[in-house]
């Protein structure tokens, strides 16, 4: 494992980010089975506990979508069109298991279509209730059981309680380290910039959890002590909305007078912000966590109160974020055709502006080719802050 000229910390993260599937392919060669999954709802704990390497299936803003157009309409979420396009082009041809999920319409329908055209030895569609109360948790736990059974089939062994508990605490440790990393952005300027964090987050979604935790620790130690920290900028930015998985995007933002401080996205805080409660039957904790604690507008929140209270219920965590990190501007990132975030836009604006935070909403095309025109928007936004 250890060798002298092995990259560490940020350099290592960049390396993994640049060659996302390299480690997976290596481990595959060593006989490990790889399971790819959609969005942050299929529990990685179950995969880890069965000795699989879970990897998050992402799109590629640099790769023009071509093949997918034969299967998915262009009016669909561009991120999932891109992900499917890569799948059809064989980018993920090494995975042994495919776990689709009912994260949103696009994820759901793409999951079905994926399993029709991209034959993976084992695949499963994880249904996820839209409500998180009452019987919903039990129903979701039932679905998790089917996921477990299916993966046990692939692993050729049963999932024991102990291994699952171990996996949960390993991933909880990862969550803790990620939060620690985010806290390093409290000072102004932050100790670590958006592109660096993104590289780390993407990396830990592509390698085994132990390696991920080791990487996180390296990065934290490195960042705490390094001299060359990011420049001070006018904007301390909270990003809310659709995910960002390409540093060309974060670079563009941070070269427009804005420092990215915290990302409330599916490649940001969302998968990591809460630990899984360690329950008697571990699946209970897992079910509760993914259904109730992974913040995403795809899960419906009760609204039997006034609109104001409703906003408070749904977004108070953003207020906490803003307070803790001294946020002075919010970028609402909407990948074109993302309905679940699209419907939230006026509400989340109402809420954040009531906190005195300016909000910039951009519907973007998930393509590096169409990034540059956004520069003026970000610069203008930083001018509204400063």
């Amino acid at each position: 494992m250890k060798d002298v000229n092995k990259k560490t910390g940020l350099a290592r993260a960049k390396d993994i980010y640049d060659h996302r599937n390299k480690r997976a392919r290596e481990l595959k060669a060593e006989g490990k089975k790889i399971v790819g999954y959609f969005c942050c709802f299929p529990p990685v704990e179950i995969m880890t506990a069965l000795d699989f390497l879970p990897i998050r299936l992402l799109g590629d803003m640099d790769e023009p979508i071509t093949v997918a157009d034969g299967y998915l309409p262009t009016v669909m979420c561009i991120f999932y069109r891109s992900t499917f396009d890569l799948g059809m082009k064989g980018r993920f041809n090494f995975i042994d298991g495919f776990i689709g999920s009912h994260a949103c319409d696009a994820a759901e329908r793409t999951s079905y279509i994926w399993s029709n055209y991209i034959k993976t030895p084992c695949n499963f569609f994880l249904d996820l209730p839209h409500v998180d109360k009452g019987e919903a948790v039990n129903y979701f736990k039932v679905q998790l059981n089917y996921l477990k059974e299916t993966l046990e089939g692939l692993a050729g062994k049963k999932l024991g309680i102990e291994p699952l508990k171990e996996a949960i605490s390993l991933h909880n440790k990862q969550r803790k380290l990620v939060r620690e990393l985010y806290y390093l952005r409290k000072p102004d300027p932050p100790l670590i910039n958006g592109s660096e964090v993104l590289q780390v987050i993407i990396s830990i979604m592509m390698i085994p959890v132990e390696e991920g935790n080791e990487l996180l620790q390296e990065v934290i130690d490195e960042v705490k002590t390094r001299r060359d920290i990011p420049d001070k900028k006018i904007g301390r930015l909270l990003i809310w909305g659709s995910l960002i998985d390409n540093i060309k995007f974060t670079d563009l933002i941070e070269s427009s007078g804005l420092n990215i401080i915290v990302e409330d996205t599916a490649t940001g805080t969302r998968p990591f912000w809460h630990d899984i409660e360690e329950t008697e039957d571990p699946l209970v904790g897992v079910a509760r966590h993914y259904l109730q604690e992974v913040k995403c507008p795809r899960t419906f929140a009760e609204t039997d109160t006034s609109y104001r209270e409703d906003l408070e219920n749904r977004y108070s965590y953003l207020k906490d974020f803003a307070k803790y990190w001294k946020i002075n501007g919010v970028f609402g990132n909407i990948i074109r055709n993302c309905d679940i975030h699209g419907y939230e836009v006026p509400a989340v604006k109402d809420y954040l502006e009531s906190l005195g935070l300016p909000v910039l909403i951009i519907e973007q095309d998930y393509s590096t080719a169409s990034l540059e025109p956004l520069r003026t928007r970000f610069q203008a936004f930083s001018e509204t802050i400063g």
Binding site: P64, T66, D69, G70, P373
Partner: protein, 274 residues
């Protein structure tokens, strides 16, 4: 011994053919230049002239294209997709997939052994995917449309365009020139951008051999080459890729003539705008 005229009155070019019992007698091509009526007359004259025929000798006219409604004679209007497929398989019977890069739009048409349409896909929302942008950029670079193909083949590093919009592409081309990018690289980059869009359509349809490319774009060897790379298929080009539509119109109207006896209810359009 009836003489049939086929007309394809496109936004850029008007084309006419004269056919007799399924054989091509003559053809004519002239730019539409916004005056369809005069373009129609001149292509008709050109085609008639070559055959020593007069309008009075013509039994039937079949027509397609944007400007067909300007035809000052009675004619049958036929969908461009049908004309393209029938005309192309007349010239190249082995065609199964047709890629037409026209001035207004690009089309992918799947064709049956009988030269009939099996499936079709058209880009018509905006000019980004149409051959029009070739013209536009040719004007910017002051090169002849015909030479673009050859020039692009000399490219060392194709320019990357950041916009899809044909109009902005023009402006972007201008500033690339200013930054000292070579004509070759700009044209090659343009071809890249255009073929990417059309390839995406082609993928959507799925390609069956033989693949044929027609329309103005087919005369551009550079474009065809990049398209072949992008699709991983060899593309056949008819000797005269411009008149496939007109031929198709003539052939289909001949079939219709037969049917006409059966179903009288078939409407005959007459140009009435002039």
């Amino acid at each position: 011994m009836s003489f049939i005229v086929g007309l394809d009155i496109g936004s850029a070019l008007s084309k006419a053919v004269i056919m007799q019992d399924g054989t091509l007698l003559s053809s004519g091509i002239s730019p539409s230049e916004g005056n369809f009526l005069s373009a129609i007359n001149s292509v008709l004259q050109e085609a008639l002239g070559k055959t020593k025929l007069a309008m009075s000798d013509i039994d039937l006219i079949g027509a397609c294209g944007l400007g067909a409604s300007f035809i000052p004679h009675s004619f049958h209007k036929i969908s461009e997709i049908l004309c393209q497929s029938r005309g192309t398989s007349y010239l190249l019977p082995t065609v199964r997939t047709l890629i037409e890069i026209g001035n207004q739009s690009s089309r992918i048409i799947k064709i049956t052994r009988q030269g009939k349409v099996a499936d079709s896909l058209v880009s018509d929302k905006c000019a980004a995917g149409s051959g029009r942008i070739l013209q536009i950029v040719a004007k910017v670079l002051k090169v002849d449309l015909k030479d673009m193909g050859q020039l692009s083949l000399k490219s060392t590093q194709p320019v990357k365009f950041t916009t899809g919009c044909a109009v902005f592409l023009e402006t972007e081309a201008i500033s690339r020139v200013a930054e000292g990018a070579s004509k070759e690289n700009i044209i090659a980059g343009l071809h890249q951008a255009l073929t990417a869009r059309i390839a995406a359509m082609a993928h959507r349809m799925g390609l069956e051999e033989d693949c044929v490319i027609t329309g103005g774009g087919a005369e551009n060897s550079g474009l065809v080459k990049i398209m072949e790379e992008k699709l991983g298929k060899t593309l056949l080009v008819p000797d005269n890729p411009l008149i496939t539509g007109a031929i198709g119109a003539a052939l289909i109207v001949t079939e219709k003539k037969v049917n006409l006896k059966k179903e009288e209810n078939h409407a005959i359009e007459t140009g009435c705008h002039c």
